[in-house]
Symmetry: C2
Subunit: 421 residues, 2 copies
Amino acid sequence: MARYIEKLTPVSEALRLLKERVSPIEEWFDAPVWEANGMVLARDVHAPIDWPPRDRSAYDGYAVRSVDTPGRLKLVGSATIGSIPAIRLGPGEAAYVTTGGFLPEGADAVVPEENASVEGGHVIIDQRVEPGSYVDKRGSLVSKGQLVAKRGTVLTVLDIAGLVESAITEVPVYRRVKIAIVSTGNELIYPGEPAWTAREILSGKVVATTGAVLAQYLQDYVPWAELVHEALLPDDLEAVSWTVERLLPHADIILVTGGTGPSTIDLFYRLRDKLGGELVFRGLKVVGGKPTSAYIVDGKPVIGLSGYPISALHGFIRLVYPLLIHMGNVRRPAPPLPIVWAVLASRVEPKRPRPIKVRLRVENGRIVAEPLPWKYQKSSAGIGLVMADGLALTGEEPLEPGSLVPVLLYRAPAGWRPPIP
Amino acid sequence: MARYIEKLTPVSEALRLLKERVSPIEEWFDAPVWEANGMVLARDVHAPIDWPPRDRSAYDGYAVRSVDTPGRLKLVGSATIGSIPAIRLGPGEAAYVTTGGFLPEGADAVVPEENASVEGGHVIIDQRVEPGSYVDKRGSLVSKGQLVAKRGTVLTVLDIAGLVESAITEVPVYRRVKIAIVSTGNELIYPGEPAWTAREILSGKVVATTGAVLAQYLQDYVPWAELVHEALLPDDLEAVSWTVERLLPHADIILVTGGTGPSTIDLFYRLRDKLGGELVFRGLKVVGGKPTSAYIVDGKPVIGLSGYPISALHGFIRLVYPLLIHMGNVRRPAPPLPIVWAVLASRVEPKRPRPIKVRLRVENGRIVAEPLPWKYQKSSAGIGLVMADGLALTGEEPLEPGSLVPVLLYRAPAGWRPPIP
């Protein structure tokens, strides 16, 4: 009796135990910047050259020698973006330039097109122009050797655009963290033709969706990791241990979902006896956290998560995500998890940390979180996920109406529009 | 002179003009739920059956007839999740059940495993059990015909998990909005071997990254759209119009990037003369918005955006994203755009709506946005994107230190951890 009710481990303790035992990825290599989207910088990046590498025009107009202004200057050619100008300005000469183009030698200022007029082959400039006017000077943005990005930064597509624009075309990055997901459950099926699938569900089968939820959150919020394998297996110790053994050489971390009830939780525990390794913790002190457990085999974490999508996601957000930050050497994660503060609309008594399905609305510019009725809060009440917009993430203490609660958003609150002025 | 300085159109006006002229997608079809990730519901979805479809056990334990409790009951079998139990309980009989499994006929309550003991082939239950105890009754979560999801909802992976769990295996969805991106610029190159690419950049070439930025934001935040074509072209009116003509039959909207200076902005305007159609607006009243323009050909918007990544993204967030919400029939977008309120650390005078590159940090639980120095604010200062963490989106009015400003986050603020208790 009560064989599974042991001391549950608080999340912070479970995470500390895991981090102590799991090493961050050490392998790194130089990658073309445009292939490093979502990867983690393994070293600080310093500028290899001054940027811009030459004086550039900051406007469409006429490159001039400022000493020649005001004046009537001879138009000797043009210097557009895309190449180093072949022309050189002598006294009394000007050249057409476009924004971002390198200045011809001799030029030290640009006169915007709208401040000049053209007559025949000449440009008439009425006013005196200061040296450096409308010019981006060599090295004005970045000096050679300057630190431009720090180790531990997850590169976004905007970072890539900025680095490559500045002629930084190769960066040192860690290899991605490799993840395998094993979904277990005798009742699980692959979905197929809709009517057939509905009949199977009515006869008690369950479509395997928990692995898909985890895979989506990995794809969206953990770009420094890659899902290398996904497996679907029965609640069979031999089959699961056989599969995990075969995945261990190829993954840095294995997530095993399933075990929603005490009888199946045992399967994960017995798996440890088969595989060996060190039990790290058994049961996480969160609602729905009894199946959440971990051991280490060959230095790699094998983490058991609930078979219910919401409970597995909860374990993922609280435990696996911070562990992946650690394993990936991440100091500045990107994209940020979509967690916002919301105002709680009614009292909740979570007792243990738990995900509460909430509907969201906007009132007076603030996001208000209304918990769904109690019956939809069960892990097994999946339809509650459809009715809700996000998951409020609580601690142990009761929360009064009006308190602020963090909410993992999975869609925009009703009535929400981005607050862009 | 000043041929391009016309009356710029405010964002709200530009958006109104576009919405009036562009029809939302009408085509819809029934899709298997698991293939509808990111798609938009075309009709309200009602439950096809009661859920659960039969009484289910809410716990691992023993299914009993409550009238038999307390008592010593004969264990006649087990009913685990995954099938409809073949057994039927008679008087004085019990069956082992697991969480989520259907109750055998005759049973009306479940006794948790830890509240019972087993002796030989019998289960001993000491206390009286109420009918319905630890049972999820048929229809207790959803009644047949009940509205479970509304038209205009973008389906997330959690919605899919919830729907399919409830035997809703097919949903009516709009087809995705088809987008083509055409990047133009004589200076543009494809990136290749890093050293070669760096040399090309130093000679004035520019790696085409703006299209990649737009593609990433489409992928991350507009799952109801699909990128059907990407093209890279010189600033050549014939080449661009030839390509746009060929894309028009296959896309619902075409984004043309390029034209960062007045001379190349003209290319987009002349494109309209080639293709015909109605000019909607010419120049958006935001900083960097002069190249942002739109016309309608064959009922389809062709939208010109800046060639600079940050300005193109700004036009995308302000104009294209809301237009795609309209075109996609979206009422509840998912995932939400990562826009948060931050406290501005220093004064800004934007004059027109603009994206301000900001570094973010957390102070006393609030996100503080520190604008990068002025020289990094130029659209052409791409390295500023690497130094920043997000883009503050301003209106026209000056903003004092301490004011709240919306920030499009592209990475987590320094010192940030999700506020999970």
